[in-house]
Each structure stands twice: as structure tokens, then as C-alpha cells.
Symmetry: C2
Subunit: 413 residues, 2 copies
């Protein structure tokens, strides 16, 4: 009888692997970085504001500081006529208070004088000469003003542990004088390529051999997810050599990727070698995901080890789904999932088999609000089909396929 899928592996679903990853990833130490180097890093600590922002009440427009009561019911037809009592220079605090019936000229960002509670925009005024300013609009208290502490109060949380630092977080931190920021160190992700038929990309392969592709696709995906890739070596299918490389890799990395060698067959050395390490535990042996079925996930001490399929497309799908997620978990990233799912309408029927979640290379396009995804049908060994794709379509575990016109989950890739 032919063997079946389940003869080979104790297969886990994607969701099961995701749950396992949540509790299995090593946590990274924090490091303090200059703010300009912290872009898209993940905060290692929660930061509370050391002070109030703004430190004083500021105008948000060019115009005149007023008592808002003095503009009551002012309009084009029935203006308020007030006395210009001076001009507030930028960057200084005026000692003079504003009396009722007076205005003071103020620029955007200027400090409100004592007594003023609003600013009328210059567009809604006219200078009548002899220090008389005509105002055509009524103002509410605090109109065109940011009051002291209105933006941030001292002690407010301004960065949460696990939050990603975007340009706007950089801006807020700068506003509060925080120019160094504690972020999670990038996990080092070691890459070991295996296979007697694989040569280094710099070299010209002799007959029967091919260049190492996974070294680079994995390198890119690791960088994208926020890790530091480190190439450990290209190892032939030899137990001694693989054991030595794993020893090196485990010392040098937080997460270790082995690509190739995880399929059942003559070359299935990965598990055999990993089992010889003390502190080894097997977390996953086989995933109900295609391509990528023969994936191994293990721990050796506190290090996480992936045995990835050798097929470039398979290794790439599994790295998207699981390695990226593991890197984010190491970073303590706490905002939603990674990678982020999207959706689109599929333009063709896609056949599939039950019992596995299929990830089909595809081309996503958006016109207005119409989101379409076109599957790229290709043999699994075709590397150029990865380049043609900008999305992966998910065909659910228990579906026999999806039909043209159905909404499907997609991953941008």
C-alpha cells in the first residue's frame, strides 16, 4: 500500500505551530539606542512621560491672542474692535498680561500671555490702524490654542513595551527630550544550508549541482522581520559536519535555521543530529501546510531551531509563516499578529486537498476598492514564480479548493 501523509509526521496545523511559538521563543535583552537608529525597532520597556507637553499654552495659528469673551457674537457685520497691546516675540514669555479689551499679536507656536485664552486667526481680523484690530469671528475658550499639558501629561504612557517605533513615535519621544530609547536587541538568526548538491552562489556549479538559494531568501526575510541574519555555513549531508555546524550555529544564534535535510529520505539527518544535543526537545515534526510539510521545530536549551525544507519555495513559505513570527516573538512585539493578513477576491478556481492549508503564489492588484488576486500556477521548483508573486493565497485546511469570485485570505510577500 502506498504510504500516506500521516505515516511520516505528527502533523500540526499552522495555528498549533503559532501557539507553540508564542511560548517557545527566547526573549531578547534590551539595548539603548540613539533615537534616529531606533526606527521600526520594538520598545523593550514602557516609557512614561517625564514632563508635560506642551510646557506652556501655545498658539496653533498666526493671529492675535484675545480674551475669548471679548469676541462674543463678533461677525462680519458686527465686528469686535480691540486694542493692540503689543507683539509676542517667538521663543519668549511675555511678562505683560493681557487686559480685557486688548489683543496681542502672536505667531504659530507663540506663548499665550497671562489672561488670554484664545487666538484669532489673522485671516479673521483687519488692522484698522492706530492700534485698533477688528475681529470678525467669535472665539471659544482654547480655540487655536494647545493648553499646557493638553498633549501629554507628566506620567502618561508614551511608549509601551512591545510597541514598534515609527516616525511619529520618534517625534513624540523627541518632543519630550527622550533621545535614547530602550529597544529589544535584534535576534541573531543563523542559517545553515545543507545538501551534497548545493554550492555557494559565488561559484559555478559542477554538473548535477545547483547554487544555494535559501541562504539569500532567508537572509532577506530575517532582515524584513527585524532579525540579524548570520550565515553559518554550507554543509554536505554528513552527520559529523552537520553536528559541528549546529554547535557553531547554536552558540552564535538565538534562532537557528537549517534548510534542506528535513524531508524523510536518505538525507534526513537534521533530527538525528539535533537529538544528540542536551536540552533538545522536539516541538513540531511536520506541518499541515503546503508547500512546507516536512518542517521541524525544536528547542535546544533556550535556542529555537527550525528544520526547513530544502525547496526554495517551501523554505520561503515556512519562513514567512513561522520564522518571521518567531523573530517578532523574540522581540516582544505586542501589536497584533505578524505577518498581517489581508484579503482579496480570487480570479480563478484553485483546486486543493483537504487536510492541509495551501499557500499559492499569486499576484494581488487593487483598483479603487476592488481587490483581486490571481493565482500563479507553477511547479514547486520554479524560483522565478516567487519573483512574479506579491502575495500568497491561503486555501483553508478543510477546503477542497476555492472558487473564482470567492474572498480569500492573502499575505503580502
Amino acid at each position: 500500500m502506498p504510504k500516506t501523509f500521516t505515516d511520516f509526521f505528527d502533523v500540526r496545523t499552522r495555528q498549533e505551530v503559532e501557539t507553540i511559538l508564542e511560548t517557545s521563543c527566547p526573549s531578547m535583552k534590551g539595548e539603548s539606542l540613539p533615537l534616529a537608529e531606533a526606527l521600526y525597532r520594538v520598545a523593550a520597556e514602557t516609557i512614561l512621560s517625564p514632563e508635560a507637553l506642551p510646557p506652556f499654552s501655545r498658539s496653533t495659528v498666526d493671529g492675535y491672542a484675545v480674551h475669548s469673551d471679548d469676541t462674543f457674537a463678533a461677525s462680519e457685520g458686527f465686528s469686535a474692535l480691540l486694542t493692540l497691546a503689543g507683539k509676542i516675540p517667538m521663543g519668549t514669555v511675555t511678562e505683560k498680561s493681557l487686559n480685557r479689551g486688548e489683543v496681542m499679536a502672536i505667531s504659530t507656536g507663540g506663548v499665550l500671555p497671562e489672561g488670554a485664552d484664545a487666538v484669532v486667526m489673522v485671516e479673521h481680523t483687519a488692522d484698522r490702524g492706530e492700534n485698533l484690530i477688528e475681529i470678525f469671528r467669535p472665539l471659544s475658550p482654547l480655540e487655536n490654542v494647545v493648553a499646557a499639558g493638553e498633549d501629554v501629561q507628566k506620567g502618561d504612557q508614551i511608549l509601551r513595551k512591545g510597541q514598534e517605533i515609527r516616525p511619529q513615535e520618534m517625534g513624540l519621544l523627541a518632543a519630550l527630550g527622550i533621545t535614547r530609547v530602550p529597544v529589544a536587541a535584534k535576534p541573531v538568526v543563523g542559517i545553515i544550508s545543507t545538501g551534497n548538491e548545493i554550492v555557494s552562489p559565488e561559484t559555478s556549479p559542477p554538473p548535477g549541482q545547483v547554487r544555494d538559494v535559501n541562504r539569500y531568501t532567508l537572509n532577506g526575510l530575517i532582515q524584513k522581520a527585524g532579525g540579524t541574519p548570520r550565515f553559518i555555513g554550507l554543509i554536505p549531508d554528513n552527520e559529523t559536519a552537520l553536528k559541528q555546524a549546529c554547535e557553531d550555529g547554536l552558540v552564535q544564534s538565538d534562532i537557528l535555521l537549517l534548510s534542506g535535510g528535513s524531508s524523510v529520505g536518505v538525507r534526513d539527518l537534521t533530527l538525528q543530529v539535533l537529538q544528540t544535543f542536551s536540552g533538545f526537545s522536539l516541538l513540531v515534526h511536520g506541518v499541515a501546510v503546503s508547500p512546507g510539510k516536512p518542517t521541524i521545530l525544536a528547542k535546544v536549551g533556550d535556542k529555537l531551531v527550525f528544520g526547513l525544507p530544502g525547496h526554495p519555495a517551501s523554505a520561503w513559505v515556512i519562513a514567512h509563516l513561522f520564522v518571521s513570527r518567531a523573530i517578532r516573538a523574540c522581540l516582544g512585539f505586542s501589536e497584533g499578529t505578524f505577518p498581517v493578513w489581508d484579503h482579496a477576491t480570487v480570479s480563478r478556481n484553485i483546486p486543493s486537498a483537504q487536510g492541509r492549508e495551501d499557500f499559492i503564489r499569486a499576484r494581488f492588484t487593487m483598483k479603487g476598492t476592488t481587490r483581486t488576486v490571481e493565482p500563479i500556477f507553477s511547479k514547486s521548483g520554479i524560483i522565478s514564480s516567487l519573483v512574479a508573486a506579491n502575495a500568497l493565497i491561503r486555501v483553508p485546511l478543510n477546503a477542497e479548493g476555492v472558487y473564482k469570485g470567492e474572498e480569500v485570505d492573502i499575505l503580502a510577500i
Copy 2:
């Protein structure tokens, strides 16, 4: 009479500014980078494949190389019984040809022997002993095989000038032995902050002064778009100092950003200073975009200069819309627009004024295929509202607002 919007500026729409940017951005030189450093860089040249991929016909599964004709009509009930003629070691070329009626054991990635045209998966076979292999499936020619040159032919375009290098492009280049790649140099984007009321973020502002926020939000947005930020200096509202800083900035940068000083008012020095440079031409003075109306776009020789509003939120919106796009144009990026628009259903009414395109800070969420965006109503001076936002809602130029439940364009931020 109160002055109106158009008294101040010769206002351009966003689309007009985008068109102007297309022809106004300096082109970057190419530089050759090691492949691992080329992630998300933009190709400076079109690259054609120097060779065929794969170089030989390969198996994509573990199984047996066969003549497909020998499996004609094979099934579970009516199997084909063939003779095992040997095993193909990985990474080598077998000199032996496959005769009719024979199979050879082959692993994933193995080289097909002369005479074989397909590979049957081991799951669809049984080893009957005495070198007899039973096959339960019919095979088509090239089934489970990637033929020589089937992936890429010599001379095929593998990277287009202007294409972004993703992990999968890195993989394809590695497969073809291309481990250095010509990419556009990153444009250097100089930042000059201006304003008497502004102090460096490292310092504690004296009364009436605030820290420089734009230096960091712009830094982050420049990095995100693929440029190299370079801080030129923090300059008081002083013509001589600003002129000197612009001279320095124009020498050091491909694109120069001045933040602050572009509003009409006492501090409107930017244009005055820029006009003194030979080779100056004003491209845009005022955009029909809110926030960000008083934006200036100019050229000085082949350098592009932006006068950005001083308001952090305004500078940030304009940088998203135009500075990012200018950086991509410098890089020669040729795949669609940048930034990329998305869409969602708005959860509340948003009032607006005709004659300007409003960009409202908002929170985007997705549940299944339901895409919702909630506007964050906030005063323009509130920096923490930038942090609360993950999207900008676009309210069209000639709309008086959008209604709850309408589909709106959004930008992820």
C-alpha cells in the same frame, strides 16, 4: 475684508505636485552592493540571466525516475511493475541511461538520468523486493520534474531597472550566481529645522521654547522611503544663518528639507533666502492639502528643496505625501505609486471644506474582510495624536466631508 486662502499662495493640488515631482527629482547614481545588503533597494540596471536555470533536469520529489510511457494507465488495481536499475546520488550526474522498463531511485533535486522524463513520488510506489518497484499512478512527461531552462532561460530579464529587490529577488539572483547587484544610491535628504522657539531635543527648553520634533519624524520618514537622512542644523529666524545653512545643505544633500518658516508671517524667510541662490526656480508655493497648505517646492540647480510647515503634524503629512514620493522618484522606483493607497469604511462623519484635500489622522482596523477606519479628531498641535494614528483618511478636494459608512481612501502611516 478678511484675507482668503488664495490671497497667500498660488495653490496646487496634490496631483499637480505629484506630476511636478515626476520630472523634478534628481536621478541617483548606481552603486554595486553585495546581495545581502541590497534588500529593498531599487535596481539601477536591468539584468538579464547569464545562464539557464536549472542547468539540468531535476526531480522535485523523492521517488523514482521513470519513462512516463511505462506508467501508462497504472492504478492501485492495475499497477506497473518496473525494475530498479540503481540509485542517483545527490549532486552528481549518472552516466547510466534509463532503459524502458526500468526506474532509478532519485531524491528531490537529483539529476534525471538520460532517458527518464518523469519522477513518481515514493508515496505512489511500493518496493516489492528483488529490485521490483510497483507504481500505482500514471505519469505525464515532465511530471515532478523541472526541465533544464524551464525556470529561466539564458537572456531572460530577471531584474528590471527600477524594480525593488525583495527576499525572493535575492533568491533568484543567488540561483544565477549574481551576488553583487547594481542599485540606485540612496538620496541624501538634508534637514534644516528653523525657528527662534525651537531647541535641540537633547536640551531642556527654556520658558517659551519647545524641542525640535520634525528633525526626528522627518528622519524616520526619510529612512522609511529609502533615503539617508542628514541633519544640517537648527537655525534661528535669521536670514544670514538660514542662507549659510541652505548653502551647506545644498552641498550635502540631494533633497533639502526646511521645516518651519514656510508660513506667511514674520518668519517667512525660506523663500526670501532660496531666491538668492543662482539656479533657483519656484515649482510650488502652497498646496490644496490640509494640513500642510503653506508648503514650498523649489529647485536650486538639480537639487530639490521643500519648505515644510513647522507644525509637526503638517510637516509629517506633507512628508508622507510628497517627500517620500520624491525619494522614490530619485531612486527610479518604477513599480506603481508610492505611498500606496488603500481603502476602508469610515466609522463617523467627517466635515471638511471644499477646495482642499483633507488628511485626517485615523485608526484603521480589519476584522475578516471588514475594513474600518475611525477618524481621530484632534487639534493640529497635538503630537500624541500622530502616535495614536496608523492611517490618514483622504477627504477629496471638492467634498464637503464624508459620511459615516462611506468608502474612503487611506494611507497606512
